[in-house]
Symmetry: none
Subunit: 228 residues, 4 copies
């Protein structure tokens, strides 16, 4: 009992070393990296890892949570930016860039299962929501986008950036996609009334209801038949 404070300091230091090693290892090799490898990088025994984290999965969650927390913390001030559009796109780009070099974050973002604790997920979504709302308010982002879309786009952009030859290219394309455009987007995702195929966006006139002249013709014939 005498050395408790020292022990606590030791434990804290060990915990941090494990986390740092896990950050590194998970970032480089993903969740499949053996736990022993993490312990080795941390310079501790495997048992020590388990002293601080219940399971490997919990350690993984901690690592990802930690990353997300940093992102959230650093991005919080962006909410009050004088240029909400700039703020939103800065955030988007930064998050993707960081995650793209981090297999752990990639795998976490892509996984639909709730790896991270609810709190941080909520914080992350809240942050996105605020940035998005303000950016949309000034017309910097398409109005038909919601928070879930942005999260999905972030994850997708990360996946696309990872290991690609020209870094930043896909994320730039994604941000373009988020900007309002005079072209009429097809994000309503409506389908052809005949063949249920996708509708091509037409930039003029009223929205198309059929995907092609052939289908329009078919619909016309049907209507006649029905009316007969």
């Amino acid at each position: 009992m005498t050395a408790t404070p020292v022990r606590r300091a030791d434990a804290r230091r060990n915990r941090d070393r494990v986390l740092a090693a896990a950050q590194e290892a998970f970032a480089e090799e993903g969740i499949l990296v053996p736990l022993d490898e993490i312990a080795r990088r941390a310079g501790v025994g495997a048992g020590t890892v388990y002293r601080h984290f219940a399971t490997k999965e919990a350690l993984f969650a901690e690592v990802v949570t930690d990353r997300l927390e940093r992102v959230v913390d650093e991005a919080r001030e962006l909410i009050d930016s004088a240029d909400p559009g700039q703020a939103f796109f800065d955030f988007f780009t930064t998050v993707v860039e960081r995650a793209a070099f981090n297999r752990a974050v990639c795998e976490a973002l892509e996984s639909p299962t709730g790896i991270c604790p609810v709190r941080i997920e909520h914080d992350f979504d809240h942050l996105i929501g605020e940035l998005l709302r303000r950016a949309q308010a000034v017309g910097a982002v398409r109005p038909d986008i919601d928070t879930a879309d942005v999260r999905t786009l972030i994850a997708g952009s990360v996946a696309m950036e990872r290991g690609r030859a020209r870094p930043g290219r896909m994320v730039a394309l994604m941000t373009d996609a988020l900007r309002p455009s005079v072209t009429k987007p097809n994000i309503r995702n409506e389908r052809c009334g005949i063949c249920n195929g996708p509708l091509s966006a037409s930039s003029t006139g009223r929205p198309a209801r059929y995907c092609s002249p052939a289908c329009r013709q078919k619909a016309h014939r049907r209507r006649r038949r029905t009316s007969t």
Copy 2:
């Protein structure tokens, strides 16, 4: 005198069952699904799987190749479509939709390593290239996009669609991103001359060189110092 061995029918049936089970299992759980699980789903012993496929990896490749071959075969006629834009976006949408429910295809598309035989990879790229070229020729697709971009976008769209609540939404957004727009895209991926941060696209005036007023100011001050 048919040259096919007598037992072919049976073996073929089992092979097909294995392939079907593998399609299912790989699609649901990805390449990490145990081979025994595939055998179980097919209702055969593990050895039977190995009779038909040299390794688990070979089975995986077969499954993915099969999917891609179907896509390529069905899409080949699109090349001569009267509406190249429509053809391109139809293709894009169809491919993503199919793959989105298929972890195997996702993992294969995302993996840089050559899982599939070169032939099918080449066919796939060739198909994309042709559809893209024609669509760009009629102005239906942004001219600054290349085949590699499309492949990446397909894989990314798949990742984004997978397990998402509103199917088709992300792919629609992606296709929007591919359409030409009167907004000036930032796909040049240029960076702020001061902080190297991303540039926001401005739809009017000359292209921005700095990401924010603050950076522009900084640059201004630097220029004065240098000129002195």
Copy 3:
């Protein structure tokens, strides 16, 4: 029932093909060669192999037996040779040479377990015994050698020849060992009365009882102690 003779002929032919393929495969790769490989070489199904041979081990025994039978058959006339020494050494050399290129025979000869049927083992031993007896009768082979020695020497020579750079060298040395010599051989295998070490053969005087002067001295001292 109509085609019985034909079937029998077919079966016989198949059996022979399996045996030939097994000869080849076992000779090249040893008993560990997969049975499927043998079936493949024979151009039959694995089931056909089992129609003719109860187990893989039985097939192996048959193969080895067959080899030994040929050896015995070919060597039988040597028994009545006018030069029994020549006959014996010819036999020895030929057997080793053949077996040295035949992993199956090597493995069978080296294995103490009775792989082959008793009959052929007996025939083989009988042949060796006769050749040996006659060769010893004319003084061509050391008299302190028996049939078991020869069998062992054959197996050992085969093992030594296999894969060696200079074929025939070891078998020549072995045959030298079998010839009578004016040096007194130590095949009595007696041991030093003190340290139980091997005795070196001395070609003159009475047989040594101690392996070295040191041991002889020790024995001398012991005797004095005991007699006191």
Copy 4:
């Protein structure tokens, strides 16, 4: 401050138990013994074996290397023996005796592939070479023998001794073979000029050129034909 980790004693004990079990199992059943069997004999899990030895093959190499190292270490002093012949034959006999009860060593000695690390192989060969050279210098060993022969003879003797009824008998015969003899050995390995068969050593007269009177007669006839 000793640098040895705390747990070393325990792990060391287990490692030794694994090694001992492996010695036993490999010695009895050869390299084909299942690794699980070794673990079972050692009273540990399979994983423990892999903690100490990278692969089964590595464990096998360790076992054999260990044996050879002991042999080499114990035999090193023999090099300076006052009786080089005695030293050589002692070495030969001892090595064979030990290995004869050890399938592992047998298989390693017989295998041309480098199972053991180069160092020990080299040490072993060097030792043999030295002992052989000195023994030949004093005329205790035939001069036409080289190091490779001795290695081969050791392996062969081991194979011959293994499981044989009269231990030591074959090795004694082998050592006899190595001794110089007044009989003319056929180790030149020359062949009959007619049938290419082996020549029997004749102890008198000039070396035979044909293996039998029949061949000599044939040669005679040929010569006549050619000269005509």
